[in-house]
Each structure stands twice: as C-alpha cells, then as structure tokens.
C-alpha cells in the first residue's frame, strides 16, 4: 500500500503566466526541432541530402531578386487577406469566406477592366475598378453578417457557401468573356492598351502590393487596439450580453466589421487582377482565403505577428514548389515538409499553456 501513496510518474498541469521571452524561446525550439525532423524524414524517404533540400527551399524564395519579389508579393496578398480576417475573428465571427470575398473582388475588377476599357479616362477606370472590388467584397461579407445579426444563422456555413457561389460566378463569366474564343479562359486583359492596369512604381512590378499591405497592417493594428470600433468588436466577441448592457448595438457592429473584412478582401482581389496577374481564373485566390485563417490564428489575431506567420507560410509554399521541381519529387513531398513545420509550430502552443511535472523520487 505504501508505494501507492504517491502521485503518478508524470502529470500535466497548467502553467502559471509565462513571460513573452520564454514563450518565444519555446517557439524557437519548436522551429529547430521541426527542421531536424524534416531533415530526417527527407533523408529516410528520398535519400537526398537534407542540407541541399533546405538550400533549395531557401533558393526557391531568395534565389534571385525576381523570386524574392514574387515571394514578397505572395506574402503581401496573404497578409492583406489575413488582416481582413483578424477583426472578424476577434469578434468571434468565424468568417471562412475570405476566398469568396477575394474572388468577388477579382470578378468586379476584371469586369470593370473589360467593359469600361476605352470608355472612361484611365484614372477614372482605376478608381472605378478598385471601388467596385471593395464594394463587391464588402457586400459579399455583409450578407452572412446581416443574416447572423437578424436571425442568428451560422456564419461558418454561410460564408463557406458564399465561396462556392463566388467561384462559380467567376467560372461563368470566364466562359462569357473567354478570349481567344474556345480557349475556356481569359487571357491577359487589355494587354495592348494596359487599360485599368495599376501603375508600376519605378521598375518594381510588385512594390505597390507590398506598400498597400504595409499600410493596411498599421491601419488594422491601430483599428483593433486603439480604435473605438476595435474595442466595440472585442466586447461583442467576448460577451454579447455585456455589449448590450453598455448599449453597443451588436448587430450593427457585426455588419460593420464584416463590411470592413469584405472590403479588404475585395481590395486584395483588385490588387491581384489589376496589379500583378492581369487576368482572371477560378484559382486566382488559390486557397489563400483559407490559409489566411491559419495565418490569423497562429498570430493570435495580432496584425504585427501576422507579418511573420504570413511570411512563414508563403515561404514554405514557395520553397516546397521549388523542391518538387529541382529534385524531381512530386509536390506532395514538399507539402509533407511544410506540414511538419506547421505541426510543430501549432503543437508548441500546448507547451506554452501547460507543462509536465515529473514526480520527485522519494528521499
């Protein structure tokens, strides 16, 4: 009976508050461990030297100045969409409709470029196409918000369904506007006139997108942390009853926040169509509406943290693609590597919240 008087060998308890430095250290250790595991897995599965695989991942993003710019563009678009998600998530409104809100912005921009080209002056066209994208995105996001505030519908399902509607609308208009006829796609829009194309800053094709992302990051940071709107939406997210108790109009805050989210997503769509890609495909958003959910969560909805998380995810994606081509491995292998890294980074949050307690041996 005596030995049973002790506790179990190991048990898990919640940590008391942890300092920021400690938390950062845990995350850094997780990243190092993730890279080690990746190396082992790479070696075991392919026999390739892990070092050269990592080098290729690095070069996929930083191999040339063009690649670096592409990476920055990718990071910027992902970051913009993630910034759009953050206020809604802080409000506990689970908007997973970023994809659709971007796509409807894409459609709005492309349709302005196609239909108004040559009919209005260039600056007016640019203004109109951006405004159209922003308004379209905002409306797309406000519809589920309206239903939520009125009849308390489930926003997760609603926004998800809106994605499919938006994507199918894009598919429909691609057929209508296809060029050349019978190709089933839209080529470069206004290639000869460049009507509606966003201006290029100096020789840097992607710089505009990067600047917009930077400005939005600062804006959302201030909006959420110092703005009255940001405070209101945080109260609504924490407790609707408290919000009502102090006279916050909950429905209005939900719709207002989603209008902002949708507007930013729409803007991201405009930046892609008018700024860099100059065409419209059904895969233009490329799942970034969903990746943005992860970016926002990993950064705990902190816009500054989202710079790093969006960078990390975009970097991994680029590197993965490069590994696949360079080593003749298929794309799935690189996905395995990114998944391992993300697994470690999300998993380490457990160790920030909890710790293991080992039984001290009896004296």
């Amino acid at each position: 009976m005596k030995e049973s008087g002790k506790g179990p060998r190991v048990h898990i308890t919640k940590r008391p508050e942890i300092s920021k430095a400690q938390a950062f250290l845990i995350r850094a250790v997780a990243l190092v461990l993730a890279i080690v595991v990746c190396a082992v897995v790479t070696y075991l599965l392919t026999g390739d030297d892990p070092g050269s695989v990592f080098k290729t991942i690095w070069e996929g993003s930083f191999g040339s100045s063009r690649r670096t710019w592409v990476l920055l563009q990718n990071v910027s678009i992902l970051l913009i969409i993630s910034l759009a998600m953050a206020p809604a998530f802080r409000m506990r409104f689970w908007n997973i409709g970023g994809e659709g809100q971007v796509m409807i912005g894409v459609l709005a921009t492309a349709s302005c470029m196609i239909m108004l080209s040559g009919k209005v002056p260039e600056p007016a066209l640019i203004f109109i196409e951006i405004a159209a994208a922003v308004v379209a995105g905002a409306i797309w996001a406000a519809i589920p918000a309206f239903f939520k505030s009125r009849w308390n519908t489930n926003e997760t399902l609603f926004t998800l369904m809106m994605n499919y509607v938006a994507t199918q609308l894009v598919a429909y208009f691609i057929i209508i506007w296809e060029s050349p006829r019978g190709s089933g796609k839209i080529g470069i829009i206004n290639q000869s006139t460049q009507a509606g194309w966003l201006p290029q800053i100096g020789q840097y094709k992607y710089l505009l997108t990067v600047i917009v992302a930077a400005v939005l990051t600062v804006f959302i940071y201030i909006y959420m942390n110092y703005g009255k709107h940001g405070y209101e939406l945080a109260v609504v997210g924490e407790s609707e009853r408290t919000a009502k108790y102090v006279g916050i109009k909950v429905g209005r805050v939900i719709i207002r926040t989603m209008l902002l989210s949708g507007a930013i997503c729409g803007l991201a769509g405009a930046l892609m169509v008018a700024g860099t890609d100059h065409t419209m495909t059904t895969t233009l958003a490329g799942g970034r509406g969903f990746t943005a959910v992860m970016v926002a969560w990993m950064a705990k909805f902190n816009p500054l943290g989202m710079i790093f998380t969006s960078f990390l995810l975009a970097f991994l994606q680029k590197g993965a693609g490069e590994v696949a081509t360079q080593f003749g491995l298929n794309q799935s292998f690189s996905d395995i590597l990114s998944s391992i890294i993300i697994f470690f980074l999300i998993g380490c949050e457990f160790f920030i919240q909890y710790r293991f307690v080992f039984r001290k041996e009896a004296k």
Binding site: M1, K2, S4, G5, K6, G7, P8, H11, R15, P16, E17, I222, Y226, G227, K228, H229, Y231, E232, A234, V235, E238, S239, R241, T242, K244, Y245, V246, G247, I248, K249
Partner: protein, 510 residues
C-alpha cells in the same frame, strides 16, 4: 468518540499554483455520521483542499488516508472508487439528456438499462427524501433540481463521503431547507458529509463540526454546538469584525424614479412583472425582497433599458426639470439623455464585465464613447481603475490583469467601483454580495450607504433578509411578479417580509 477511525484524514497537505500557495500544511479529519463545515473566506483554499480529495488536483506534499489507509487519488474515478464524491459549484450535466441518462453516463460497470437505473434512482430519492423525476430533461430543471441530479449521481456511484462546494449559493431559503433535510438524512445513514461554505448561519444550522481555513492555512476546528457567529468570524477573518450594518437617516428625500403599472413579459409570453408601481427616492435605499425569479431581474433590466416592456411607465424625475419616460430607451439612449443610471447586474462576468479584458478596459466599458476621436482614450479609465483599486482595496496583481483572474469579491468591487465612478443618480444592484466573503460584503454595504448619503436613489435587490432588514430604508416585496407590499425597513421584521414573499399581500387581502 475520539478513538474512532476517521473516514478521511488529510495530513500536512500543501498545494501551490505557481507562486500562489493555496494550501499550506493543512490537516483535517472527516468522520462518518457527521456533517463537517469547511469555513473560510473566498480564496482561503477550501475548494482547492477538497479538489485534492476528489482527484482534481494532486497535492504537492502531504498524505491522504482513507479509513486509516494511505490512498493515492489521481483522478475523480480513483476518488469514487474510494467512495469519495464531490458536487461542484458549476454543474456538469448534459442539457438534452434526462436525469437518469446523466446519472448513468460514463458508468462502465453495469449494464445499460435505463428502466432499472431509474428504479434505483427512485430508491435513492426515497431513502434520502430527494424530490426528483428521473425522466425529466435537464434543460427543464431549476437550479435546485440540477443540484439534486448531481448529488444523486454521486450517491448512485455508491459514494459515502460527500463533498458539497457552496451548495446553497444558488438556492432559495426554502430549497436550502430541503437540501439540509436531505443532508441530515445522509448523516443518519452514517455517511460523511462535508460542505464548503462561508455562510455562518448555515454552519450553525447544519454541521456538527467546523474546520476553519484562512489564507490556505488551517486555523482551527470547533464543535458547532460550542461556538457562535462572532467567534467563527473572528477566526475566519483573523481579527475582530464588527457585524452591524449602518443605516444612516435618509436626507433630502425626493422622488427620483417613478414606476407605474409596469408589465413585462418574457420572450415566450410569460408574465414576469404584473402591474408594478412604486417610487424610488433619492437619498434612500429601497430593498427588494422576493423568492428567486419573482421578477427582480426583469424589473432592474427594464429600468436599465435592457428589457422590453408590455405597458406601464418608468419615469426619471430629475432634481430640477420635468420628468422623462425611459420606456423604449436602450442603455445608450438613457446615457445620451444625460441620466447617469448605474446597474450592477447579477451576472458579473457575463454581463457587467468582460472576463478576458483587464481592469482598464473594463473601466472603459461605460465611457469609451467619449470624445470625437475615433480612437479610445485609455489614460482616463486607467486612472479610474487605479482609484477603484486604491479606494476599494481590490487585490489584484495589476491593472493589466484580466478580471477573470480576480476572486469573486474583487470582481464585484471592480464592477461596483466602475458603476459608482460615473457619479450615478440611480444605482441598481442585483445580489450585490452573492458569493462574497464577510469583509467584501461589508465593504459593499458601506458603499451603498455612501451612495445613499450622496443623494443617489439606490435599489438593492437582495436574498439575505437579515441584511435587507438592516440596510434598507424601505423594502418592496415581490411575489410572482406583483408588488406584494412595501414596508418600512425600520419597523418591519423577517416574519412579515417572509409572509409577503410567499403570498400576495401576506395572505390577508385577496
């Protein structure tokens, strides 16, 4: 008597959470056929100690002996195997299931036969005098019935050492009486019962022995028959405590809030307030008594603009100027009318405060709209928060601590502090001292009196009649949503109020 073996002995138990010492070298004994009260203020470590007995926490040091043998309790299941069952403050029941389904949930040892289980449950109920319908769904039940399910659940698992964590906090006086009868039956059945509490009258009424904790340390063990309220209070608080509540004479009394023929229906059409009329005066504390759910919540929420009304009127009478109706106004409208109406709701963390926000941001709830800028001003609320912390002696690590980490009494001080900071002309409070220890309760009574002396119309909804009778200038008694009577707090007594609570007009008229 002293030679018998304790059902449970806890020896030298220590438990720390980070830097906080919850229990320090505590030793207690629990005997069969006895009811033990574990008495202490909020945060004195009562619940933590019992959680170690029921397998929620593991002690850092110390021994637990069950029937004289050392036991390792690593999980609630281990505890139940030893016959130890705990009924927590927050119930853990599945709403859409029946009582029986909840009770057998998770039992692997026996065959799944709901009829047979219901029969056994009825048997247990008959034996101890519970009033429970095994087929009733949880969502249909009152808090008291849910508690009964939790207790029967533990008994069904053959526990003979029962721990109840503040069981009366959610009960009406009548329900408490019924629970105590059940507990007495258990004692007769030779079970060991522990109740965690900080209500002294209950300790005296129900228990045989009382163990007192203070700041995680064991202070002493007394026979209830040989002690009194004053002695227990002094041990619990650690110094002599004045147990009288002040009631200054009202000054400059004038009508502030006139409620006439107010009728309120709930969303599903049930009449909650029926033709209620009264006047709340400035410079007075109007106590509101009534058994729970007699319309207290609806009354306060209707005044605060949170509850739509059917008909009738609520009017605010300023010191100088015409009276204005508050009907159809929401809290923001009322604020914009220039009326400073403060409301301390019953649900502090779910309504009055935001649990995850820090003290500063919670202070801001009422005032964040001020100013034309689109950004919030945190400097002023930070100062208010610091003032509240200093003046009301809020125990908090700092202003950036989320309020959910504060103890119940401190949470209430933050809430009341904020509501008073806006210099209200009307102060509504619902169960302002529920769950609070003696020190905090007296601090709150004191604040109410200060507001009254400032010329505020204070409406104090309470459940403890002794307190209402000592604090309130007038007492309005609600019964089933109707005004059963309005009494002078200085001349009435508990008997008269109690009668009005249970029957309209005291059973004489109508």
């Amino acid at each position: 008597m002293e030679n018998r073996v304790a059902a449970v002995s806890m020896r030298g138990i220590t438990k720390t959470f980070g830097k906080t010492v919850a229990n320090k070298n505590v030793s207690i004994d629990i005997y069969r056929g006895e009811i033990l009260s574990l008495l202490g203020e909020n945060g004195s470590g009562k619940t933590t100690l019992m959680n170690m007995l029921s397998g929620i926490y593991l002690p850092d040091a110390g021994q637990i002996l069950v029937d004289g043998k050392e036991a390792a309790i690593r999980s609630p299941k281990d505890a139940l195997d030893l016959g130890i069952g705990m009924i927590h403050q927050h119930f853990k029941l599945v709403d859409v299931m029946t009582a029986t389904e909840n009770i057998v949930l998770g039992l692997k040892e026996e065959k799944y036969d709901l009829k047979e289980s219901s029969r056994k449950i009825r048997e247990i109920c008959d034996r101890y005098g519970f009033d429970l319908n095994p087929e009733q769904k949880i969502y249909d039940m009152t808090v008291s019935q849910k508690q009964t399910v939790e207790i029967v659940k533990v008994l069904y698992r053959k526990a003979d050492i029962l721990i109840l964590d503040e069981p009366t906090a959610v009960l009406t006086p009548q329900e408490t009486e019924r629970l105590f009868d059940v507990l007495r039956n258990m004692r007769k059945d030779n079970k060991a019962v522990v109740i965690i509490t900080h209500k002294l009258n209950e300790v005296l009424e129900i228990s045989d022995q009382v163990d007192i904790l203070r700041s995680g340390e064991f202070i002493g063990s007394l026979k209830t028959s040989e002690t009194n309220v004053q002695e227990m209070t002094d041990m619990m608080v650690g110094r002599a405590v004045e147990l009288n509540i002040d009631r200054p004479q009202p000054q400059n009394v004038e009508p502030r809030l006139v409620i006439s023929n107010l009728t309120v229906k709930s969303e599903d059409g049930i009449t909650k307030l029926d033709d209620v009329s009264f006047t709340a005066n400035a410079g007075e504390i109007l106590g509101i008594a009534g058994i729970s759910n007699s319309g207290q919540k609806e009354l306060l929420e209707a005044i605060a603009g949170l509850q739509p009304t059917e008909h009738g009127d609520i009017s605010y009478v300023p010191h100088d100027g015409p009276q204005e109706s508050l009907i159809g106004k929401d809290p923001l409208d009322i604020q914009r009318m220039g009326i400073s109406l403060s409301f301390v709701p019953e649900d502090r963390l779910g309504m009055g405060l935001v649990a995850n926000m820090d003290l500063t941001d919670n202070m801001m709830l009422r005032s964040f709209r001020k100013g034309r800028r689109r950004t919030v001003d945190r400097a002023t609320p930070r100062k208010v928060a610091q003032d509240v912390v200093d003046q009301l002696e809020v125990a908090t690590p700092g202003l950036t601590t989320p309020v959910r980490r504060l103890s119940g009494g401190n949470v209430q001080k933050v809430l009341v502090g904020r509501e008073i900071a806006s210099a209200p002309s009307v102060l509504l409070t619902a169960y302002a001292v529920r769950g609070l220890d003696i020190n905090s309760s007296y601090a709150i009574y004191d604040l109410m009196n200060k507001q009254k002396e400032r010329g505020v119309a204070v409406i104090y909804v309470g459940e403890d009649l002794d307190v209402l009778l000592q604090l309130a200038d007038r007492i309005l008694v609600l019964c089933g949503g109707k005004v059963s009577g309005i009494l002078d707090g200085r001349t009435t007594d508990k008997y008269e109020v109690g009668l009005l609570m249970t029957s309209l007009g005291g059973g004489e008229a109508k």
